[in-house]
């Protein structure tokens, strides 16, 4: 194991996807302190098993989309490795690389926002085949597959001829999912897939995603700010803060017994239906997320942490296993053990 927090190794021999110590730096305009290197990912490690869902949570700018783009091979890490089925796709070129790219697909918040309004749903779904010409050679095969995919996501064959404006948000998201499925991927990265949808429709799409996973055995990386949604879909959860995973474990471990103060604050701050006490028991953090151009020394959460000590500014905290739960890991010098967010005992409070 490296120094960084390693995503659960689980009992599986070979995870589908394994990310080790990945770092990604962007060169940007100089900050007031003169730094122009923005480390969007700073030592990310995680694993993803077949048919598994990993929930990825964290505030905007923490690196979720950069991580997603890296796994899609749209960004090359500066350091660290990505292993897909034991192979490093970044070492491949040409056709091999293309074949690998097929295996990870993505669903965005609104699949049509970035697409030509003059395309039909059928054209949108079959668009990925333009880069992968070997998949469905005849137009007849392609049409049949489009109809199958529409059926799979609960829509009608006749919908293939309609244009984006004719669909509701939920239907558009179904089409976005069908498009992601077009290349038979092993992994689908879902970036806030239901946050633009109304609650009643959100439930329809979440049910569809669960059903598809069961039928197809596809793995998901599910990015969302809504912790109740993540809890519903995810087997395991990773919490990111300023380019690093600061806590990981099962959804229950992380949300019910968070060990890292940031994970505790996030859980506690999330609105909950069963809390009618006007949020009085919430941990309200001070300040805001610091600029990723000038991350704090030592523990990156220390500027907002209510229990920071001198050592937090001096040393980056090592990965720490929760007692009795070796796969529940966090990076804090003083991990919480008394906190039980859902039962309302918030000790300590800031």
């Amino acid at each position: 194991m490296s120094e960084t927090l390693v995503g659960a190794v689980r009992d599986q021999q070979s995870p589908l996807l394994e990310v080790r110590d990945v770092t990604k730096t962007f060169h940007v305009a100089k900050s007031p302190s003169g730094n122009n290197r923005l480390r969007a990912l700073d030592g990310i490690s995680l694993t993803l098993g077949r048919g598994e869902t990993l929930g990825l949570v964290g505030e905007s700018g923490c690196g979720k989309s950069t991580l997603a783009r890296t796994l899609m091979m749209l960004e090359r890490p500066d350091a660290g490795t990505v292993l897909f089925d034991g192979t490093d796709p970044f070492a491949m070129h040409g056709k091999e690389l293309l074949a690998w790219r097929r295996r990870v697909q993505m669903v965005f918040q609104d699949p049509f926002a970035s697409l030509n309004a003059r395309m039909t749903a059928g054209e949108i779904i079959s668009e990925p085949w333009r880069a992968h010409r070997d998949m469905y050679r005849s137009s007849k095969d392609r049409e049949a597959r489009v109809h199958e995919l529409l059926h799979l996501v609960g829509m009608r064959p006749s919908d293939a001829r309609k244009s984006p404006q004719e669909f509701s948000g939920g239907q558009r998201q179904r089409i976005g999912i069908a498009r992601a499925l077009a290349l038979d991927p092993d992994v689908i990265i879902l970036d806030e897939p239901v946050s633009a949808l109304d609650l009643s429709v959100q439930a329809q799409v979440l049910n569809l995603l669960n059903e598809l996973q069961e039928r197809l055995g596809v793995s998901y990386i599910f990015i969302s700010h809504d912790l109740s949604v993540v809890r519903f879909v995810a087997d395991r959860v990773a919490v990111m803060y300023l380019g690093r995973i600061i806590e990981t474990g099962t959804a229950e471990e992380v949300f019910d017994s968070p060990r890292h103060p940031y994970a505790a604050a996030l859980t506690s701050a999330s609105p909950r239906l069963d809390r009618s006490t006007a949020g009085r028991d919430k941990i309200i953090l001070r300040d805001e997320i610091p600029s990723p151009l000038d991350p704090p020394s030592g523990c990156r959460f220390r500027t907002r942490c209510w229990q920071a000590q001198d050592i937090c500014a001096e040393q980056a905290p090592p990965a720490d296993q929760a007692p009795g739960s070796p796969l529940h890991l966090s990076e804090c010098h003083f991990p919480l053990d008394t906190i039980r967010v859902r039962s309302g005992e918030l000790t300590p409070t800031p």
């Binding site: 505030e59 905007s60 049910n207 669960n210 109740s228 519903f232 809390r275 009618s276 953090l285 300040d287």
Partner: protein, 349 residues
């Protein structure tokens, strides 16, 4: 159609009665807000809850006098501190906006003017309504920034909106809304665009402002959990209509409209991973397609013939606990009401 027993409640800061708003669209004139009534009390939060497009913002804009030119108040009263806003001239309404009524929108970046310093924008209210000098207004602006928790206000008062984070911009908007100590604050999805920990900060700020100033707050949201945590009373909107209203405690514990019930069941609270969430089939009707009869009929699991013919009125429901008589409630509370022919049946589900 009065559903709320005003005799026994303290007189509300805002009393909206039978408000209807029409909208001119290329496909004809439609009603975006239909016969909407609710009240906001001093020191309390009323939530307007509903899905996208149901008419929440339109209702807020009608009250604030900020309707788009294509929209128009067709009918109804909006009584603020005893005066009906609906009968006022534009000039009179401008005098009310600020000293009596403040409004905060979701998108703080577009709501602020990018070419003026925030201090100038914050001080404007004082220059216009209190005729303060630029220098006096500036020091008022610094005070306000302090009050809403913006660090180092003296040095940041001369910064421009883009130099602030989303959370800080939302604080600035809130500061502008409460600058002249209004009695009513309307907050339209004030935290939707913000991260969770910043959302919690902003909601805490709104709560403390409400408590310190005895503000009546109308909180517009599509998030049931935010309603559960922040609001005292709720009006659930669907396709331009209020379909259920009452205290949050009552409505969420015993929803008496199938739509409210469907929404509550769609939330993945403690849902077992891999289980099937209950969901509402279909989508809300489009405005030019709202059916006669019940607005919810196309999605309602309990729909009967009568629902297609007669539109149910928003009427007080018999309390789920059979002890109290219908419509009778304690002073200061709001009776639960629902617009469904079968709301009584729902009490026993």
């Amino acid at each position: 159609m009065s559903t709320i027993d005003t005799a026994s409640t303290p007189s509300p800061v805002l009393d909206v009665k039978g408000l209807s708003v029409t909208l001119r669209t290329p496909r004809g004139t439609v009603r975006a807000v239909n016969n909407v009534s609710f009240q906001a009390q001093a020191g309390k939060t009323l939530a307007l809850l509903g899905e996208s497009g149901c008419g929440k913002s339109m209702t807020a804009k009608a009250i604030a006098g900020l309707l788009d030119p294509v929209a128009e108040v067709e009918e109804g009263q909006m009584i603020l501190d005893g005066q009906d806003l609906a009968t006022m001239t534009a000039r009179q309404r401008r005098k009310v906006a600020g000293p009596q009524l403040g409004i905060v929108f979701q998108d703080a970046l577009t709501a602020l003017n990018p070419v003026y310093k925030v201090g100038t924008q914050l001080g404007e209210a004082f220059r216009i309504h209190q005729k303060l000098s630029a220098r006096q207004a500036r020091s008022k602006a610094v005070e306000l920034m302090q009050r809403v928790g913006i660090p180092e206000p003296e040095s940041r008062v001369d910064a421009y909106p883009h130099q602030f984070s989303g959370g800080m911009r939302q604080r600035i908007l809130i500061a502008m809304a409460v600058a002249l100590n209004p009695s009513l604050l309307i907050a339209d999805e004030p935290t939707t665009a913000l991260d969770v920990t910043i959302q919690a900060q902003i909601m805490a700020l709104l709560r403390s402002l409400r408590e310190e100033n005895n503000l009546a707050v109308v909180l517009i949201t599509h998030d049931l959990a935010v309603v559960a945590e922040e609001a005292d009373t709720v009006a659930v909107m669907y396709a331009g209509n209020v379909v259920e209203t009452g205290t949050v405690a009552e409505v969420f514990a015993n929803p008496r409209h199938p739509y409210t019930r469907g929404l509550l069941e769609s939330v993945p609270v403690d849902a077992v991973r891999g289980s099937t969430l209950s969901s509402i089939p279909g989508n809300p009707p489009e405005l030019h397609n709202v059916p006669s009869g019940c607005v919810y009929q196309s999605r309602c699991p309990l729909v009967q013939e009568v629902c297609r013919i007669t539109r149910p009125e928003l009427l007080p429901v018999r309390p789920a606990s059979a002890t109290a008589a219908p419509g009778v409630h304690h002073p200061g509370t709001v009776a639960q009401a629902a617009a469904c022919h079968f709301s009584e049946e729902l009490a026993h589900v």
